[in-house]
């Protein structure tokens, strides 16, 4: 079974209470936004972190993607707020 590593940053990480986790790969056709909804359904910190998907951004294998992107064969998904560097 393929696996997908999920990484969390900034307040997403704080709400969930961990840097990341590894899950069974949800399949190439799964959209990031639908995976977020599944995680949100776990409740607790997940529900808090993912309450408003409009506040979230994502990267697949270290490249920014829209939330409507499909996971494809990516090995790493990162979920985080809009960036605030510089």
């Amino acid at each position: 079974m393929e696996r997908l590593e999920i990484l969390y940053f900034a307040w997403v990480r704080e709400a969930i209470g961990q840097d990341g986790e590894t899950i069974d790969h949800p399949g190439a056709e799964m959209r990031v936004i639908d995976l977020i909804e599944q995680l949100k359904a776990r409740g607790g910190g997940y529900a808090q972190a993912f309450a408003d998907p409009q506040r979230l951004r994502a990267a697949l294998d270290q490249a920014f993607v829209p939330l409507t992107a499909t996971v494809g064969h990516a090995r790493e998904l990162a979920l985080f707020p809009p960036v605030t560097g510089g």
Partner: protein, 146 residues
């Protein structure tokens, strides 16, 4: 010449400028970002996505290289705990003429603010802590470059 570093260490802007001045162009431009004090700010922590940051900054520099005839670009971006007055970021560009150096420098900082995986968290004297929200003005500043 492309010289990028992301890390906790401070940097010496004069040394970085000297590096750019030695490239034979007629123009060197730079921007240094400093942690702004006030409102009881004690410190600011910068988190990033280590596996992605260096590559993403490199892509942004490559984009600047496609748009302007640059002789060199230096980027330093600090992460970790920083106090007011500390340097956060440095962008330096060298080119034959000033327009390319100045424009590319502005482009680079606008893009670094809005499309590289860094996040800032502020801590205040009264105990408050908050993650800095992305600003619409920053997005607009990026958008003006098309």
């Amino acid at each position: 010449m492309i010289d990028i570093a992301v890390g906790t260490e401070d940097f010496d802007a004069a040394m970085l400028l000297a590096e750019l001045e030695g490239l034979g162009g007629g123009a060197v431009a730079s921007f240094t970002g400093i942690v702004r004090g006030g409102d009881g700010l004690l410190s600011m922590r910068l988190d990033h996505y280590p596996a992605m940051t260096q590559a993403r900054v490199h892509e942004i520099v490559e984009e600047a290289n496609r748009r302007w005839p640059l002789l060199g670009v230096v980027v330093r971006h600090r992460v970790g705990e920083l106090t007011p007055g500390s340097r956060i970021v440095f962008v330096g560009t060298a080119s034959a003429h000033r327009a390319a150096a100045l424009e590319a420098c502005a482009f680079l900082i606008d893009w670094l603010k809005t499309s590289a995986p860094f996040w800032k968290k502020e801590s205040f004297a009264d105990g408050r802590q908050n993650w800095v929200e992305a600003r619409a003005e920053d997005d607009a500043a990026k958008e003006r470059w098309g």
